[in-house]
């Protein structure tokens, strides 16, 4: 049985990961913003067989609360074997281009609050001398593109941050896992036209859980995004700047 902390637990991808862990009988601590949904998810996980489920309702943009939340999780779980960080928003690029307040608030959500959480958590797992920090970044972080560079650059920050954190924590038997989903059909992407490249949150969650089981460093989900992003990263800037991707 694992003790698992999920930050952003009302995200649909996180929920489907939690369902798989629940069927294994794991103990879960859920942190999310929507209390009605947290209650629904908690009941569901208990029915599916979770060893125990505790929850904490908060907006993770309140950085001052982070230390307290993690202490709560440790009280409920004891040791923390796995942390899944799934909180974040998909920034509206067009709005970002004119509304600086909005852009800064997006960075607050997607960068600053994640950095704060990871800094606290890194120390916890380092002291434990074991654990997994799995964080949802995005393929969008691999190269900034006109269509979503605010979101992309916030995820690029996370990817680079995790790369460094991985180096730091490897001697302490801690795995740091960078999860890079492509297009996933979730409430976050409602309004987008869905096509061939879109994946279901169930399949993405199944891949994430497998990746965490096998302690992979970096997971592209679905796997074909590794090829697509390799191609996009390989384009010379002199050409890339003229493209609309």
């Amino acid at each position: 049985m694992s003790q698992i902390l999920i930050l952003g637990a009302t995200s649909v991808i996180a929920e489907y990961c939690a369902r798989q862990w629940a069927t294994r009988g794991d103990a879960l601590f859920l942190v999310g913003r929507n209390s009605e949904r947290l209650d629904l998810i908690r009941n569901d996980l208990l029915v599916r067989g979770a060893g125990s489920v505790s929850q904490y309702c908060t907006d993770l943009r309140n950085i001052e609360e982070h230390k307290f939340i993690i202490e709560q999780a440790r009280t409920h779980l004891g040791k923390i074997n796995i942390v899944l960080v799934a909180h974040g928003t998909l920034s509206d690029q067009k709005k970002c281009e004119t509304d600086i307040q909005y852009t800064l608030s997006e960075l607050q959500t997607n960068v600053l609050s994640t950095v704060s959480l990871l800094t606290h958590l890194a120390n916890v797992v380092q002291n434990q001398n074991e654990g997994v920090l799995a964080v949802i970044s995005s393929v969008a972080g691999d190269r900034g593109r006109a269509s979503n560079y605010v979101y992309g650059s916030s995820k690029a920050f996370i990817t680079a941050f995790l790369s460094g954190l991985r180096q730091r924590l490897t001697p302490f038997k801690v795995s740091v896992i960078t999860i890079k989903p492509g297009f996933v059909d979730t409430p976050m992407t409602a309004g987008f036209k869905k096509g061939m490249l879109w994946a279901s949150p169930q399949s993405v969650a199944a891949r994430i859980v497998r990746g965490i089981d096998s302690r992979q460093d970096e997971i592209y989900v679905p796997g074909f995004w590794r090829v697509i992003m390799f191609a996009i990263k390989s384009l010379p800037t002199s050409i890339f700047k003229y493209l609309r991707l």
Partner: protein, 438 residues
């Protein structure tokens, strides 16, 4: 609360006919559902009804309202949100020794959809419909209230909602009674019948078996017209409680037109019907017995891009024999029907206002969409109404308002309940507008 964004898309039912563009909202909580009630809309689960009953310009998808609420493994009582699929229920309940009291031919449907269609299964003659095993329903009505209804509490709303095609409100959650099983194996007996009359007699004769259904060869002409195989089933007493499933295969694209041609299918039927001895027994896993087509994702694409209509009707017992002969002849003469049809004998009807099953024989078959089809179907609709029978709304996309109102005699009562709970002009689908249930 977060403002729900809609996805603009083109939807169809499982028959891929008709298609309609829609704004789809996928709320993540019941509260969010409530906030969307301003507009005219219809709820949609897995989209497995065949026609236009889950199509509208605004659609509420229950995709994320799919959590379990509670499960009592001692009593076999389960509560879940409407968007949970029967397959998910089985994954949870089978290892603990519980099966659905009534199951349709696919486990891909949602709990909410199964209630709204009041689906039936191969044990209708013994156990009634899916809704006969529903203990209670939480319904979001047009007034924005979540009302609990059951056969005892708000019974009129309950009997309108069960089989009500989503027109009384949005089903949020439901509690149902499961059936204990000792094993996931089914003892199947297959018996050959020589013609339509013979199969009708056999279906009545073998009604002690829990499950019974028969397949008719629709391509056989002359001697052997209506030859069939009756499949009887009982739960085995021994075996394990493992709901194993092979990963389904997929039909990756729409089938070409020659795929289901008569000559190819005649060959298939000869092979298929030849395989069985006059009477044979076998023991097979329940997912193969109940959900053979779930092994092929998107099997509906075999009918091509234009889609198909699955047509199911029932005739009351006293008109069944001659009526079936008449209708079956019309269908085979037209040459438009599928190569196989399914026939079953229903037990008595329940008291749900728009429920489909009634005591008598039901036939179901597929028609690939073509221009001649619609004249045939309207002729059949008229004959069926005249014989006191009805057509299954869950598979319908062409029935006219006049014929519908002849077939479903409780429609006025149904409208009165909708009126009382603020459902009029609030919950509506392409189907409800066609049938004059605005």
């Amino acid at each position: 609360m977060r403002a729900t964004r809609a996805t603009e898309t083109v939807l169809s039912g499982w028959g891929n006919f008709p298609k309609a563009s829609a704004l789809v909202y996928a709320p993540v909580t019941p509260d969010e559902c409530r906030s969307l009630l301003e507009q005219q809309l219809i709820a949609r689960g897995a989209g497995r009804s065949y026609g236009d009953s889950a199509l509208s310009s605004t659609v509420i998808s229950t995709a994320y309202l799919n959590q379990f609420i509670s499960f009592d493994a001692q009593l076999g009582i389960l509560s879940a949100q409407a968007g949970v699929s029967l397959d998910e229920i089985l994954q949870l309940s089978i290892p603990k020794g519980w099966f659905l009291s009534v199951t349709p031919g696919t486990a891909a449907v949602t709990l909410g959809g199964a209630i709204a269609s009041d689906v039936h299964g191969k044990n209708h003659h013994q156990d009634g419909t899916f809704c006969n095993h529903i203990i209670s329903i939480e319904l979001l009505t047009g007034d924005g209230e979540i009302v609990v209804c059951s056969p005892e509490i708000e019974p009129e709303l309950f009997h309108a909602t069960c089989g009500g095609m989503g027109l009384t409100g949005i089903i949020i959650s439901a509690t149902l009674r499961l059936m204990p099983i000792q094993s996931t194996m089914i003892k199947q007996t297959a018996i050959k019948a020589t013609g339509l009359e013979d199969i009708c007699e056999k279906l009545a004769e073998y009604c002690d078996y829990k499950y019974s259904v028969a397949w008719i060869d629709c391509l056989k002409q002359g001697k052997g017209l209506g030859r069939s195989i009756l499949f009887l089933g009982e739960h085995a007493a021994t075996g394990d409680l493992c709901y194993r499933k092979k990963e389904p295969n997929s039909v990756p694209f729409y089938g070409p037109s020659f795929l289901l041609s008569a000559s190819l299918m005649r060959l298939f039927n000869e092979f298929y019907f030849g395989r069985f001895a006059a009477e044979s027994e076998s023991t097979i896993p329940l997912y193969r017995y109940f959900y053979p087509l779930d092994a092929i994702n998107n099997w509906n694409r075999l009918y091509g891009r234009k889609g198909f209509i699955q047509y199911q009707f029932v005739l009351p017992e006293h008109h069944s024999r001659e009526g079936l002969q008449l209708l079956f002849n019309k269908i085979t003469e037209s040459g438009l029907g599928s190569f196989l049809a399914v026939i079953k004998r229903f037990g008595p009807a329940n008291s749900n206002l728009l429920t489909f099953p009634m005591h008598g024989f039901t036939i179901s078959l597929d028609f690939k969409i073509c221009s001649r089809l619609f004249t045939l179907l309207s002729t059949l609709d008229i004959e069926i109404a005249a014989l006191g029978g009805r057509v299954y709304l869950t598979k319908d996309s062409v029935l006219s308002e006049t014929i519908f109102k002849k077939m479903y005699v409780n429609w006025e009562q149904f409208q009165a309940v909708r009126e009382r709970y603020g459902a009029m002009d609030r919950f509506s689908s392409l189907q409800s507008r066609r049938l004059g249930l605005s």
